[in-house]
């Protein structure tokens, strides 16, 4: 009993550490990647005892700066809510990571420990619910700031997130029909099979349209640049106008956590999660007939590495997108959500249903 509690605690700590470290690291990646894209170098001056490491200490310097800034709230703000809003944003996103499977399972001291904090039977719904609960952080911050620009930003944010939540949910229905389960670990396991004898049975091959809709709607959910209407830096500054220091830092951090959650969800649902192509429990079994035995511990390591690699690729892709496209106009965002993504999502369900019915 105690051992179970300890294991769960350890897993919670490990998963949170992984997420937060990756988010810290992503702030650096964002600066560097945008710089490389624009023929610049990017932040490279932060150093510890003369050790620069390409500015890898920059996130820590930023964190220290934010910690020591004044904790400010406007006079007419509702103090408690003003304080709670960033916590809400941060909490609901970081809690979504518990449902993501990081690997299959390890055997330690005669126990089988799945590398997933909790194996929820409705994990897909849980993650969607937590992502949509993040709206409360935005709404509360806009309301509690007693600032009209904040309020406009938060209303825009709420409208955007609610509309894209519809498309996000619809895009996953087709996937759930194909892998008939709502549990992320079951979905990942069924993606280990082969399609036509050689192709890994990943969600992207079964649901390409579903993935496109999911990724676009998810990116809109992260509130980053092509979809950053809640912030609107050039016009309204957005729902965190009245925030400074670490409270603003939490909002910014939430954005990066959302990027990670979206990357992890895309990986888990559409790119095989921790599955390595053709790698079974005993080793590789290539479709052209070759076999390569791999030790069980190496299989686990490979799978965890594959998961991390895929997640990192999607984080990279999102940052690339964020630094490539200019912002949408507000009506264009609503058009894209309701007139493009929602019909595409419904069409995807229809096509999936027809194909499933035709195959019996």
């Amino acid at each position: 009993m105690l051992a179970d509690v300890l294991i769960v605690l350890a897993k919670v700590v490990l998963a949170l550490t992984w997420t937060l470290l990756l988010a810290l690291f992503l702030t650096w990646v964002e600066r560097k990647e945008s710089a490389v894209m624009q023929d610049r170098i990017g932040a490279n001056r932060a150093s510890v005892f003369g050790l620069r490491l390409f500015g890898l200490f920059q996130p820590f310097a930023d964190a220290i700066k934010m910690l020591f800034k004044e904790d400010f709230a406007p006079t007419f703000a509702q103090r408690a809510l003003h304080w709670l809003a960033p916590m809400f944003s941060f909490f609901f996103v970081s809690v979504a990571i518990v449902a993501v499977p990081f690997g299959d399972s390890v055997r330690l001291f005669g126990r089988r420990i799945p590398l997933q904090v909790v194996d929820l039977s409705a994990a897909v719904l849980f993650v969607l619910a937590m992502l949509s609960l993040g709206i409360y952080g935005i709404l509360l911050s806009g309301w509690a700031s007693a600032n009209r620009y904040s309020l406009i930003g938060s209303l825009r944010g709420a409208a955007q997130l609610v509309s894209y939540e519809v498309a996000l949910g619809l895009s996953l229905v087709g996937l759930i029909m194909v892998f008939p389960s709502l549990s992320l670990s079951r979905i990942v396991e069924s993606q280990g099979a082969l399609l036509f004898g050689f192709l890994p049975k990943w969600g992207i091959f079964l649901q390409p349209l579903g993935f496109a809709v999911f990724f676009l709607a998810g990116m809109a959910g992260t509130k980053r640049v092509p979809f950053d209407l809640p912030e609107g830096e050039s016009e309204i500054i957005g729902f965190y106008t009245e925030y400074g220091g670490l409270k603003f830092g939490l909002f910014m951090f939430t954005d990066f956590l959302e990027v990670i959650v979206l990357a992890a969800m895309s990986t888990t649902l559409f790119f095989g999660g921790w599955q390595v192509p053709w790698l079974g429990d005993g080793g590789f079994a290539f479709p052209w007939g070759g076999r390569l035995a791999v030790a069980p511990w190496a299989v686990t390591v490979l799978r965890v590495l594959a998961f991390n690699l895929k997640v990192f690729f999607f984080c990279w892709l999102q940052i690339l997108t964020r630094w490539t496209y200019p912002r949408f106009r507000y009506d264009q965002i609503m058009d894209l959500g309701w007139k493009v993504l929602v019909p595409l999502g419904v069409g995807n369900i229809l096509i999936t249903g027809l194909i499933l019915a035709a195959r019996g």
């Binding site: 990647e33 710089a35 490389v36 894209m37 624009q38 023929d39 610049r40 170098i41 690339l320 997108t321 630094w323 490539t324 496209y325």
Partner: protein
Amino acid sequence: MIKAWLVIKELLRGAWITFRHFFVNMTFHTLRLFGIKTKRRGAVTIQYPEERKELSPRHRSLHRIRPRDDGKPSCVACMLCVTVCPSECISVEAAEDPDPEVQKVPAKFVVDLNRCCFCGFCVEACPVDAIRMDTGEIRLASRTRAGLEARLDKP
């Protein structure tokens, strides 16, 4: 439908440009990291304090007074630069020189860099080519105003 395809095509074209820049620059960064010298660099950035761009020969930097053969300033304190200076930042106090060939020398030649606009008129006006702006010194910041008053008669 056709419009949608055009939009998607343009979106992908834009993504291709940033993607290409990223990978080309990353390749050159990586090559340099492993010590392989390439003609092209990954970034156009010049890391300023460590790395300097070569100044153009006609760049107007901090003033100097060209010395005579005996090391004294070659200025004859004719006040032409003081007269022509549009920001009125040069002040010259004349003194007599023991050498009968030279009428006057500056006892004090101060350029107030707080006011100087680096137009180079003083250099143009000087009849004996004494004042020049070719030191190449461009780091002129100071914490005090007095620190920006350059005494040019003292070497």
